[in-house]
Amino acid sequence: MTDHDARAEAELLRRVDDALTAGAVTELDPDDRALQELALALAAETPEPDPVYAAELAERVRAGFPRGSRGRSLRKRIARRLPTLRRPSMPVMAGVATALAAVAVATPLILEDGDRAASGGSAATGGGPEPPPASADDLTTLAPRRPESGAMPPAAGGAFAPGEGERRIERTAALTLAAPAARLDQVADDIASITDRYNGFVLRSSLTTGDRGTTGGEFELRVPSKRLPVALTALSELGKVRQRSQTGDDVTGELRSTTDQLQTAQAQRRSLLRRLERADSDSETESLRGQLDLNAGEISGLKRQLRDVRLRTDYATVSVDLEQHRDQDSATAGRDSDGLRPAVDDALGSLSDSAELVIRALGVALPLALLATLLGLAGRQVRRRRREAALL
């Protein structure tokens, strides 16, 4: 379209608008007057509503369109609601779908991370705030030293991997506790009583004494493996935890190997005994008796090994070092590290976790939201075209 055409078009529309605004012909030129007369005629052609209908609708507007007005039947009212039930609005559907997809995608990622954090963290802690008490799960996921047989480490949650049979884990824990000098004796007593409470026993203990009484001590405890987590929790509460470490060593292979060796030795013994029964000569008898003695020694040694392995796996070894509080003079700092700092660390940790969750959710939700928006726009366009199709 040329500029001239555009100007002519604008002029024509202006004349039409002038006539409609004034409600009369305003131009002098016959052509323009004809155009304005046409515009007025078109406006005059507008159908007018029936007064009765207009009054009725005005009344309904004043009443705020009461539901069930105009004697609408129950069926009609239900039918009127059905479209909203059948077709919820597109933004709502898109929002719900996006939220569901975000949750569905983010949850496994978060859980996976949680598992990774539980299994990948170092078992040892040193200084700083006291770590939370280790659970049975923690213990079973502490990267155990692989046995020579290449047996799989135990599964999380204390359960053994299916098909692997009963696994034997040798657990050890080391704890360094600090307590005020005045309380060291009491803490030492408490260590023994806690061990006793959980059906364990003190294998070795030593207390160091100085000019001002007890200054420290070392304890080697045996605690039933199944009760190790609770026992550690109880021990940790006796003083300030300076260091704590835990290890789990899968000795299933070792146990199997020893058991096999024992069975072989026992079979050999039975064979030797049968041969002894059938021995014809003294020299043969003597030789067999010698072999039986050696075999008995071997069996005894293997049984001892088995007992030892079972003892090591049934009972966890806990080493506790008891120390005097070195910073007891800085009572304020101590209180701070016992109370405020862990709280701040916890809060920061929670904040970091929340931020991670939000970022992950956004990472999933934003593309989905974009997609949903595009689909919504496309849907709107399609609906519009379908409507406009009525004018074709």
Binding site: A10, E45, P49, L392
Partner: protein, 187 residues
């Protein structure tokens, strides 16, 4: 037993009820104003498009009721209230057309011969008949445009917004439709 709580709760509910009632009354009043301002034009537009008085009454009622129920969804940033209302009315009218499988090109309603017979000015009566004939000859899209302009009284910008086209594009289409009407009337 605390005698104050139930009384306080009742009072709160009563106040909340009054506030809701006042809000509703204000809402209705505001909508009534819009209704009074636009009703004849909305009806005129719908009737021009549908060319069926009974259907136009149903669709107009439906449009106003729909607008009333959705009045909180109106966003000033997306146009004037009139524009929003006409959009609803247009959608309702197009739905009606589609539902009935009727085309806007269907024959117009029988002319009101009585009104023509009492027409004082024969020339004006003829002129009116010519305009009606020209309107019937228009394409449905063009008649929609003419109805929005002359029955709905919308500006070119409002029409453009409603049709989802530029203002100049709407002007061109309008110009074309008016030119076509002029030609038909002159014939």
């Amino acid at each position: 037993m605390d005698p104050w709580w139930p009384r306080s709760k009742g009072m709160t509910e009563a106040i909340a009820g009054r506030v809701r009632a006042v809000d509703r009354a204000t809402d209705v009043e505001s909508f009534s104003t819009l209704y009074q301002r636009t009703f004849p034009r909305v009806y005129g537009y719908v009737a021009s498009l549908l060319r069926d008085r009974a259907a136009a009454e149903d669709v107009t009622s439906q449009a106003f009721e729909r607008a009333y129920r959705k009045r909180r969804s109106y966003r000033p940033g997306r146009g004037t209230r009139e524009q929003w209302l006409f959009g609803i009315a247009r959608n309702a009218a197009l739905d009606e057309l589609r539902k009935r499988k009727r085309r806007a090109t269907l024959a117009a309603e029988p002319e009101d011969l009585a009104s023509l017979s009492v027409e004082q000015d024969v020339e004006r009566a003829l002129r009116r008949a010519a305009v009606r004939g020209a309107l019937s000859a228009l394409e449905p899209r063009e008649r929609d445009l003419i109805a929005l302009k002359f029955a709905g009284g919308l500006t070119n910008a409002e029409i453009a917004e409603m049709l989802g086209v530029s203002e100049s594009n709407a002007g061109t289409k309008l110009h074309r439709a008016i030119s076509k009407l002029r030609e038909t009337c002159n014939d």
